[in-house]
């Protein structure tokens, strides 16, 4: 055997996808119900009293932010559980002893987590069309942002899964960092609506760039330039990759 361990990548990918399919109803029902709730509360109850944002109805305006919120939390939780689970059950020994290199393992785990996120993102998009009028100006960019964000945050989740020593640590980053950043990151409003200095402070929130770029692909309007959004996501992905390369080289938190 030489070259890439394709069977190994496929074995991981398939097993990870099978794990999601075992809990398919939870996987699908949760985002659909959550999205519906957001639309009823924000889109219906509050949104009817809000003026249009940049010429887009409030219900439609929040669609990209809602999808982004799910993409971030789903990517992180899927990928982190995916790699934390073998650590927890002890089956990690098999992954570590296999003729599989770091890149192959990451492609298997992160690929599966990102696939699941993309599917959930699309389900939310489909759900949203029942509640509001969604237009997509730049479908190719929309898909590109969807993929890039899912991959990047699945990588980030993978790192968290390796770092975590218990279930509490596994949950802490998504709930303590990502959710607040997303809410404050312009998922439900344009940061232009904020008074100073909050508008400037928001520019330090990485999620602003993700939501803004994604919303641009829908409606052609964003809080920051689309180039900045892309650069930020790609830069964060590069950081995650560097961290991963270091982990696999040193065996940090993987091997005694």
């Amino acid at each position: 055997m030489s070259g890439v361990n394709l069977h190994g990548i496929w074995a991981i990918y398939r097993t990870e996808m099978a794990r999601s399919i075992r809990t398919v109803w939870q996987s699908v029902a949760t985002p659909v119900i959550t999205t519906a709730l957001y639309f009823i509360v924000f889109g219906g109850a509050i949104g009817s009293r809000m003026s249009h944002v940049g010429g887009v109805g409030y219900g439609a305006f929040i669609v990209p932010g809602l999808i982004m919120l799910s993409l971030l939390t789903q990517s992180i939780s899927n990928a982190s559980i995916g790699i934390y689970f073998p650590k927890f059950t002890g089956t990690m020994f098999e992954i570590l002893s296999a003729p599989l290199n770091a890149v192959e393992a990451v492609v298997g785990y992160v690929g599966a987590a990102a696939t699941k996120s993309v599917v959930i993102g699309l389900i939310i998009l489909a759900t949203a069309t029942f509640f509001t009028d969604v237009r997509i100006l730049h479908p190719v960019w929309m898909v590109a942002f969807l993929l890039l964000t899912s991959l990047t945050f699945s990588l980030f989740g993978f790192l968290i899964g390796i770092w975590a020593k218990n279930f509490e640590q596994l949950a802490i980053i998504p709930s303590l960092v990502i959710t607040p950043l997303t809410f404050l990151g312009g998922a439900f409003y344009s940061i232009d609506m904020l008074p100073q200095p909050w508008r400037t402070v928001s520019l330090f929130n990485p999620v602003v760039y993700l939501v803004s770029g994604f919303r641009w692909s829908f409606y052609g309007l964003g809080d920051v330039g689309v180039g900045a959004s892309l650069a930020f996501t790609a830069g964060f992905m590069a950081l995650c990759l560097i961290a991963l390369a270091w982990i696999f080289r040193t065996g940090w938190r993987l091997k005694p």
Binding site: S2, A11, T89, M92, K255
Partner: protein, 308 residues
């Protein structure tokens, strides 16, 4: 052909500062069964884990069939199967899926016929669609073996394969190991049960405190280090050992009813005939006479005590 496993100057110091292995050299030939014997904490699992890549080492080199485990990682690793000491399985998976997963992970194309064969060999075929959580402990252990065999390794590590396993299952395990060896597999096992090493191994390594104290052909070891014992059950008890028998260093046991003479099985002159002759001269009559050979266990305890 290079040795299937070659280890040189292997050392491991855990982050805690504990030196689990020091200066371990070992070479394993193709097709042999090698038993690694040692008390708790000797470093057996650490040694196996380093070879299999689940623990990092701090010194030394290792190659598998001539492939360095760092520089030719893939070539080395695809030849190795590992059954670790602890059972570790995804409880929600089915038997068949988890075994297929292992084969894929090790880079092999699916081979349903081969998987069926190993599951049948391990009496798991009827349980192939059962979830792991529905299996008994012994079955789970066999699933671990099936996973380790799934990619047709040349070198199989069994870390305490029969710990906590009942007598029948232990016999089955031994039979399986022999069968694997007949097919040309090299097997390295660790065990606390000396009878296991005695029963199965071609060679035995004794490890204690992170050092490999001895590596030897099992039969040669038994011959070289083995002591024999002569036990005489007397007709009438003796109060003390008569001075005339002092040169044999006898031990008196069971209220003076038993005389025990230990001697080197290798010695030209065992001293046994002379002892019996002297006893009849002294008029000490015996009812029964029994000789026994020391087991690997005695040898082992002896070695470990000496090293301590």
């Amino acid at each position: 052909m290079p040795a299937i496993l070659s280890i040189e100057a292997l050392g491991k110091q855990y982050k805690s500062g504990h030196k689990a292995l020091e200066g371990v050299d070992l070479s394993i030939e193709r097709g042999e069964i090698f038993a690694l014997l040692g008390p708790n904490g000797a470093g057996k699992t650490t040694l196996i884990s380093i070879i299999c890549g689940t623990v990092t080492r701090t010194a030394g080199t290792i190659s598998v069939a001539g492939h360095d485990i760092d520089h030719a990682r893939r070539e080395a690793r695809q030849r190795i199967g590992l059954v670790p000491q602890e059972i570790a399985l995804d409880m929600f998976s089915t038997v068949l899926n988890t075994v297929r997963f292992s084969r894929g992970l090790f880079g092999k194309a699916p081979d349903p016929a081969y998987i069926e064969e190993i599951l049948r060999d391990l009496s798991l075929w009827d349980k192939r669609n059962a979830r792991i959580m529905e299996l008994s402990g012994g079955m789970k252990r066999r699933v671990m073996i099936a996973k380790a065999l799934s990619h047709e390794p040349e070198l199989l590590f069994l870390d305490e394969p029969t710990a906590g396993v009942d007598v029948n299952l232990r016999r089955d395990m031994w039979a399986l190991v022999r069968k694997l060896r007949e097919r040309g597999m090299t097997i390295i096992l660790t065990t606390h049960y000396i009878e296991e090493a005695e029963e199965m191994a071609d060679r035995v390594g004794v490890i204690n405190g992170g050092r490999l104290l001895l590596v030897e052909d099992k039969d040669a070891l038994m011959r070289k280090m083995g002591k024999r014992q002569l036990t005489l059950t007397l007709q009438a008890p003796l109060a003390t050992i008569p001075d005339e028998l002092a040169e044999w260093s006898l031990v008196l046991a069971e209220d003076g009813l038993r005389l025990i003479y230990s001697f080197d099985a290798q010695a030209e002159d065992t001293g046994m005939p002379a002892l019996l002759h002297r006893m009849s001269e002294l008029g000490i009559a015996y009812r029964d006479l029994d000789t026994s050979r020391s087991t690997l266990e005695d040898i082992f305890v002896n070695l470990v005590e000496k090293a301590a």
